[in-house]
Symmetry: C2
Subunit: 356 residues, 2 copies
Amino acid sequence: MSSGGAPGGAVIRVVVDAMGGDYAPQETVKGAIQALRPARAPDRAPLLQLTLVGDTDLLEPELAKYDLSGLPLTVVPSVGKIGDDEHPVQALRRKPLASIVVATKLLKSARADALVSMGSTGASMTTAAMILGLMEGLERPCIGGPFLGLAPRIVLVDMGSNLDCRPPLLLSFAALGAVFAHKFLGIENPRIGLLSIGTEAAKGNRQVQASYRLFQQSHLNFVGNLEGMDFFTDRADVIVCDGFVGNILLKFTEGLGTAFLRYLGKNLSPLLSPEDLGRLSADLLQMTNLPRRTGGPLLGVKGAVIVGHGSSRSDGVAGAIGTAVRFVGLGLVDSMREELSQIYRGDLARPSHSPI
Amino acid sequence: MSSGGAPGGAVIRVVVDAMGGDYAPQETVKGAIQALRPARAPDRAPLLQLTLVGDTDLLEPELAKYDLSGLPLTVVPSVGKIGDDEHPVQALRRKPLASIVVATKLLKSARADALVSMGSTGASMTTAAMILGLMEGLERPCIGGPFLGLAPRIVLVDMGSNLDCRPPLLLSFAALGAVFAHKFLGIENPRIGLLSIGTEAAKGNRQVQASYRLFQQSHLNFVGNLEGMDFFTDRADVIVCDGFVGNILLKFTEGLGTAFLRYLGKNLSPLLSPEDLGRLSADLLQMTNLPRRTGGPLLGVKGAVIVGHGSSRSDGVAGAIGTAVRFVGLGLVDSMREELSQIYRGDLARPSHSPI
């Protein structure tokens, strides 16, 4: 498995779970081809090679729609897929040839540098944890990254539905989020905050109160408790909560964005041209769901895995592939392993230490 | 204490904590006078009498700005106020003459039918619980009601920052929310849902999983687990979560609304007239914070208490007074006591029973 990132100018090989997502394989195939034909600055983009994993009888008719000559695209066959409605661990055993399993094994065996899937997040997380393994000391992986176009430099961890997280797990998520904010977003010494219901140390449920003490002892640049509005106040760069709250926020925002669009459509259609309204609507969708465009990285597994929104269209697939390329190029997996090892060495109490 | 509501056509007496809120007493006084001079259908409105509680040296100059002749408005003096930054229980002991304490005692002694405060929510809740008392069997009060102008018929409980709620407490909140949805919003047999991260019974943290079983055994019209987007999908009328999640959602939505406004202001100012943009902005603010306009009722205390947003201006104060009048007129306190007693009698398992 290649976790250290490609050296400058090297080829980056991304494997795509072509069966994952509500519109697979049509949109996964289309998105893959889009990613291979970047609209701008193709000479500056790293060389990308793609492998599509899926049922060949379903993939071939889709691929036949395009002129593939010269494109660095190969297909690896798999059988079936794991759905959102299946128990990931059981499904993994029952379907050893499912697309996400075959794709993850390609990453594990170093035949790819990164994996992208729009399929069941639970299946992607479980498969990655079981096949690639977790970084040393970590109990569970998380999903972290910007989630709001309106606050594109705020990293939220966990969006990966980890429930009932104990404080040390939240601290690990914070460390992973800090590396992401530093390396991927270029934020020096990222400020870490705990999502709560007030900014004072005593404000919060038992989980937050216990985490507060632990975060204070760590070498992270912990700025204290935050409130819901602090996604928009520039008090922190990384906002940490457990996956119960993170998932509720993510889906709430998505629903709210759609409701806003309906509201604006009704109220602005007499005032704006259809073109202006259409542009505004498209923008607003991204404002309320950034991962739909970029995918969200799975943090804490020994490999570069980007999970996308299940309802992604080709743009979202291409965007997630782009995220995977950057993730590999920046060597994020190695940085995160180092950062976590520092947490687990118990080397927590150096207040002046940079978080990265 | 008058908890049964005023009979048709009777006078409803509301006491206002005139010192509570960021813009008190200017805006509380202005809002009170606004409420006494309804712009529309004054003949059909119930007869309203107001008592303002506050430091007289601060109130008098404000009152002197208005022609009060003929207005049913009296002033009761108090000394000081309890701030957001104070520990409510300690502050209550230290400041026995604070405005919220004096106002709550007026309600307790039946010299008012309802109380409205824009001051510290913690202080209002604690004072109400200690002076008015909680409904039988209840551990803590909650705040419930619609919170989104984009989903004005969805009741959220708890918005009152009750943390680490055990399942029976969440069930009580659900019962109180159901009465509110039925009586205040006119929804027959309100559908109750638990906010979680998936709709299946097994999806959710430990709190939600244990609550699910209890809710199923109750006589409430429980429709199962919900996700964040279900504030906008008409799957339930009452959405139940603990106050940690509720408060985060409330403040997140407020911050998001403000960020949206900034975004729209920037993007629409070349396309819309300043008047149209101003109207849209004002509408949008209400879309993302309904309690700012209407106040939120404190549920589970033996009296009608409406708490408003700390940053309310006069419109919000008048709106909260209007909510108080309706709350009293509908006899909500008595209905809620009956509903709770049914929960606590252990009379939980009649599936065909109406929740109200």
